[in-house]
Symmetry: C2
Subunit: 476 residues, 2 copies
């Protein structure tokens, strides 16, 4: 598998040991297996184990005691999680464009360390296999070039998406799906299908700034709902909000939200879908990170509980398979006609060749193995960044324990101004995502979203240490 | 060249002779060169000339006289053009979705003859060259797959677009261009950048239904401006309209409009751009057919006269190079920041690989030769369809003389209901585009747009004859 080929052996050994430490299988102060013993156990060379232990030492997991060997470092207490959010109860006109725009532009500058933007790393994309498939598709299906691309998109791709939907407990046919230019276009189409300018849309808080920007650009209003960092949106708060005012639609990420990484329980998803169907409020489900859930069992989507066509299920392959190809989809339930027509009106069809290539990869390319590798890599990277933040950030900092994906939400002590920190880090060529980007009510001024998508290195650790130092200086 | 390879020799000979007949070089009743003479002149075999003459006979250009040879048929008078349009003076809320939707869905059914939809024919796309380029690009530039695609799009493509803009008299740099998912997305972004729901947008009348749909979907209003079938929108009428009411933007096709095929004179384009700049009304220029202008000299775009950044110039490669790849662009002048941000918000970037492939084709693929071949093919096909309509449609039918592209606008006698004709043709598996699709005020009920993109055959002639018969039956 591509990912494992590119990961060197001692990294794998180090990752296993750090997992045992994190899980408590190896306790603080305990001696780790001797180099010779681990070399025999794992059937790797002595030098591989030495390299692995040096790496773990660099990362602060173990420490060498002279003449005695390596021991698990006594760690700080596990970091506390942020509390449930408490956004304002009134809908807000959104005004995040200017800040988001500035942050994204700065992140594009060459030589910038992208700690803010949530980009999957190029090393984790199965480039050579995709390339072979594209070449093959262009040869076998010349119509992908010459035929005018029209909605709802290629049938071979829609059939594969319908098949894979079963993994999320979703039973749909190919003809219920519209292929889109990524998940962002899907969400745009859904919002335009169910709501008009001035309408109120309920969201998690904090939420992905891209969703806030869509709402802003469509002249709608955002109603932020209290959200737990691990179990997701508060259903009681959501129900109360809907009863108290006209909410036109909900736009939620029930499985692996961004930036919190929360996932609602199965029971909560069922209750959510039933409640919204009863109240006649459509649910736009943004599922773009859900295939990157870390658990052994893939959680069911909210769409799996949909009996009335009230859930519009949006996702894409940009976070898992091919960031450059921008292929997403939506299963819009009873809004199918409106969504398909809006797709035609706003950009006609989706480029045919990338669709055919992704369909072919899903059929024969080992997508499941790819996902298993990605989840493992990202879980490991999230753990390493968490560990670095625990060592380097000001005391009192809290951090999420994401259920999947590759971002962390970091809540620093209230006195620390994340926007000032953003500016200072930028001057040192580190791009951060300040918390205010993730709220329509300009909350989270002491928070950051941190990207763990970059493969870990001593450099990343050094950068996080420096950001931690700058953070301490930004306290008032 | 791909196109010429796929066109057989006798087709080329026939096309040259029919051009001479249309141009009057060979007059009605005149004897055409003998088979032997033409064979010597053109250095082709006798049997090629015989085939060419038989084709011209089938097409009604010449007739055989026993023992004497072939003579130019005495033709009907050249068909009259439609008059300048006279739409209502008040802005209209648009309501074309339902009709357009029905027509497009019916056109997709298998076995349907697509006389309504304006689709370039697959035979005219340089598929094998594009395929080679795509394969090469995927091999040389693996980052096209693994890098997250972000606005404004690939620099290599934007540089090529800026270079080619010179052909239209437009002097812009690569960094003034945003790559889009086709021209339709470009127009959507521009309208959203310059206007809000409720605002009035001035358009040609009749105009492309896709533009009306965009306006409808954004809750804006359409103001149809009187338009001449060959010289385009009436500047006097446009100026009067702007003086009389608040017009937020103009959305026009100054070179090769759809469906009329009109092109404004250079002087008129200059006056249009100056007038709109003075009045502070931005011009969105839809230039999607302008590279298919039939003239020897490529007309300058309205954008060429833009000194203030007031013209947002939109176009694409879907009508010329690769319908399936959906690569378009916009040079939004002083609205660059808004358009780029809206592009990010509505669908992030454009798939990287098709961008790289088109950039590579533009560099080395012989795009100019491709365009020359397309113009010649389409001009020939437009001529043949016009000729067939002149023979088969009810007397009193008028037809445009398009300056480029591959559609005709057919104005039948007022008594003929084009919607009824559409339904009757549909029952015989022929898909038409009734005139009402092209107006916000439901005008043009006796008109049709006819697609000439299909390579001509005896079957097309038979289909047009049948449509003509049905039209006669639809008169009240």
């Amino acid at each position: 598998m591509e990912i494992e080929q590119s990961t060197v052996l001692y990294e794998v050994v180090a990752s296993d040991i750090s997992s045992m430490i994190s899980a408590g299988t190896l306790a603080a102060g305990e001696r780790v297996p001797s180099v010779r013993k681990l070399s025999r156990q794992r059937r790797v060379s002595v030098s591989t184990v030495v390299q692995a232990y040096r790496l773990l030492e660099d990362r602060g997991f173990i420490e060498a005691r002279p003449q005695s060997g390596y021991y698990v470092r006594s760690r700080q207490r596990p970091m506390r999680e942020p509390a449930v959010s408490a956004p304002p109860r009134a809908p807000q006109l959104v005004g995040v464009h200017a800040l988001v725009s500035r942050v994204l532009e700065s992140a594009k500058e060459p030589g910038m360390v992208p700690l803010g933007t949530a980009l999957p790393h190029a090393d984790l994309v199965p480039t050579s296999k995709l390339r072979r498939i594209l070449t093959d598709v262009a040869r076998r299906m010349p119509d992908t070039l010459s035929t005018y691309a029209l909605p709802p998109g290629r049938e071979d791709l829609r059939r594969q998406i319908a098949l894979r939907a079963r993994d999320f407990g979703v039973r749909i046919d190919a003809d219920e799906i519209v292929v889109t230019n990524g998940c962002v276009e899907a969400v745009n189409l859904c919002l335009r299908a169910v709501a008009k300018p001035g309408d109120v849309i309920a969201l998690e808080s904090p939420t992905y700034f891209g969703l806030l920007q869509i709402i802003e650009s469509l002249g709608m209003k955002a109603l932020e709902i209290p959200t737990h960092p691990r179990s997701g949106v508060s259903l009681d708060a959501l129900e109360l909000a809907i009863d108290r005012q006209k909410v036109k639609a909900c736009l939620l990420m029930p499985t692996v939200s961004n930036p919190l990484g929360s996932t609602m329980s199965e029971a909560a998803k069922g209750r959510l879908v039933r409640m919204l169907a009863e109240k006649g409020v459509p649910l736009i489900e943004d599922a773009v990170y859900s295939a990157l859930h870390f658990g052994d069992v893939q959680p069911r989507a909210a769409k799996a509980y949909d009996r009335t066509g009230n859930v519009l299920w949006c996702s894409s392959f940009t976070k898992t398979l091919a960031p450059g190809l921008r292929i997403g989809w939506v299963a819009p339930g009873r809004y199918y006609e409106q969504v398909q027509m809006l797709k035609f009106i706003s950009s006609v069809g989706v480029s045919d060749l990338p669709q055919a290539a992704i369909a072919s990869f899903l059929e024969t390319g080992g997508y499941d193995r790819l996902l298993r590798g990605l989840r493992k890599s990202y879980q490991n990277q999230v753990q390493l960044v968490t560990h670095a933040i625990s060592r380097h950030f000001p005391s009192g900092t809290r951090v999420t324990r994401p259920t999947g994906g590759y971002v962390l939400w970091v809540e620093m002590p209230k006195r620390i101004d994340a926007l000032a920190l953003y500016e200072r880090a930028l001057a040192e060529r580190v791009s951060l995502a300040p918390g205010a980007m993730f709220s329509a009510s300009k909350r989270y001024r002491h928070c950051l979203r941190v990207n763990c998508g970059i493969p870990w290195s001593a450099h990343t650790d050094a950068v996080l240490r420096r950001v931690g130092e700058l953070a301490a200086q930004c306290g008032s």
